[in-house]
């Protein structure tokens, strides 16, 4: 019997979700103490949202988990590996989409696989598959400038999923997308997530979004950024197929979150 590998293969097969442990992470930018002694444990396959007022360091924390930002103190562990730089375990979805304007949708979705050295045939096939899964089948040859914001972010999501990461990091992915598109997109994200259980860390400003999507909401307080509260979201899943948004429980949880955030403003 082969031992279970935590290395995500760049080929087919769903990777095993992994736990993320943030252990005493601090980060300072010049005179600004962005993060102080952050301790956080995110279970394998859990969907966690980071929320907090501007300047609470939530994006910095996300980038530290991804290995893009080096912590001054403390460490991040994903599975059994200590994070020191970006690795194949994580993929990120960016607020401004970060699509290559000179490349087609197909090429953009292939880009992560290309940088990770996947063979061309495999690349093309995986990209086509994920373009379809995010609902953009038929747009393979379009350029980003020809797509709406929502569609561009779907390309960003397909690019992240195509490399088959164990952890999906999302930095305010829906912030620049209009409300109706956002709701549909959130439902599609939940459907995709239920098929490919990945550990997801999402940064957002939206309380509704945090409650609707997450298993747990982590509230950060600003200057310096600390973990203020953690709020469990015991709403049933799959939420995308039900009327969760209209339920009293949903409203109550959003209200609880607001009461916490209001004190932090």
């Amino acid at each position: 019997m082969a031992a279970m590998s935590q290395q995500p293969a760049s080929g087919a097969g769903a990777p095993v979700p992994v736990e993320i442990v943030v252990d005493g992470v601090s980060k300072r930018y010049g005179p600004v103490q962005a993060l102080v002694d952050i301790k956080l444990r995110i279970a394998a396959g859990e969907f966690v949202t980071l929320i907090g007022p501007s300047g609470c360091g939530k994006t910095t924390l996300l980038k530290t988990i991804g290995g893009l930002v080096a912590a001054d103190a403390g460490r991040v562990q994903i599975g059994d590996r200590v994070v020191s730089r970006p690795t194949r375990q994580c993929a990120m979805v960016f607020q401004d989409f970060a699509l290559l304007p000179w490349a087609t949708v197909q090429r953009n979705v292939e880009f992560g696989l290309l940088l990770q050295g996947a063979p061309p045939a495999d690349r093309a096939q995986r990209a086509r598959r994920y373009i379809k899964r995010v609902g953009l089948g038929g747009f393979e040859d379009a350029y980003p400038s020809q797509l709406s914001g929502g569609m561009q972010q779907r390309v960003g999501l397909a690019r992240a999923l195509a490399v088959n990461p164990q952890v999906l990091l999302m930095d305010e992915p829906f912030a620049s997308i209009d409300e109706q598109t956002r709701r549909l997109f959130q439902d599609d994200l939940l459907a995709l997530w239920s098929e490919e259980r990945k550990t997801v860390v999402l940064v957002t400003h939206s309380m509704e979004e945090a409650i609707y999507l997450s298993d747990r909401v982590v509230v950060l307080s600003p200057r310096p950024g600390r973990v203020h509260t953690t709020l469990d979201v015991p709403l049933p899943r799959p939420r995308e197929l039900s009327e969760v948004r209209g339920s009293g429980d949903f409203a109550r949880l959003v209200d609880d979150l607001w009461k916490i955030l209001r004190k932090l403003q």
Binding site: L68, P86, A98, G112, L115
Partner: protein, 251 residues
């Protein structure tokens, strides 16, 4: 599709404007207002004579060779140095001073230096072409690299891009539109450099013919050669523009 319609419209307007100008010139020429305004038809006839007796082709061949010998190195070196300056602050600190100084210096002032370096041979024309076109290519390429979207760099790093990967897959394509603008501006400068070099320094090629016909008051011949220089300049501009369109299709 939707961009082609206004473009042909624009092309037609340009054609009408140029045609109108030529007709006006012809009329003024025929009225005999000045010795210095011969009719366009007469210039065309002289031009054709000079083409058939190989005067213009021989001169143009020499000029074009100098243009290529100066412009190709200017593009290769200009793009390389511009990329390095855009990517590495240390290179920028070292080269920004000299390059900005030379770029704003009146290049004709450097003519004696060029003569000292290259003598009065054809090479000096290539050197002038290089001097005229090099800097605008460097500066535009550098600007293009420095304007690279930070989030694209972060995205590529997140997927594990190496330094080389970042360079080839992000910085270079991101810089391409500005780089190509530099090449397009550079080629126009290069034609100027060619004429300046041939007229002021070396007395070869089309520049030599310009000086000769000017000094001997063969005004119609002079205009025929000026016309040839304009054709070269237009052709060079069109060629680089076509290259730009082919490389930067996504814009």
């Amino acid at each position: 599709m939707d961009t082609s319609a206004p473009e042909t419209g624009q092309g037609r307007t340009t054609l009408i404007a140029v045609g109108g100008l030529l007709i006006a010139w012809e009329i003024v020429g025929r009225l005999g207002v000045s010795l210095f305004v011969p009719p366009v038809s007469q210039i065309a006839v002289v031009w054709w004579t000079l083409v058939r007796d190989a005067t213009i082709p021989r001169a143009a061949a020499g000029s074009l060779l100098s243009l290529v010998k100066g412009f190709v190195p200017a593009v290769v070196l200009g793009v390389s140095i511009g990329l390095a300056m855009g990517r590495f602050a240390s290179v920028r600190y070292v080269l920004a001073g000299p390059i900005n100084t030379l770029m704003s210096a009146p290049l004709s002032a450097l003519v004696p230096v060029l003569i000292a370096l290259f003598g009065l041979r054809d090479t000096v024309v290539a050197a002038t072409v290089f001097m005229f076109s090099f800097f605008v290519i460097v500066v535009n390429t550098e600007t293009g690299v420095r304007g690279t979207d930070r989030s694209l760099i972060e995205m590529a790093r997140m997927f594990g891009a190496s330094e080389a990967g970042l360079f080839w897959r992000i910085y270079l394509p991101a810089a391409l539109p500005a780089l190509m603008l530099g090449v397009r501006l550079g080629v126009i400068q290069a034609v100027k450099g060619m004429v300046v070099g041939e007229m002021l320094i070396s007395l070869v090629g089309l520049g030599e013919r310009l000086v000769y016909y000017g000094n001997t008051f063969l005004i119609t011949h002079l205009y025929a050669v000026i016309g040839s220089v304009l054709i070269i300049a237009l052709a060079a501009a069109q060629l680089t523009q076509a290259l730009d369109r082919a490389l930067v299709r996504w814009k």
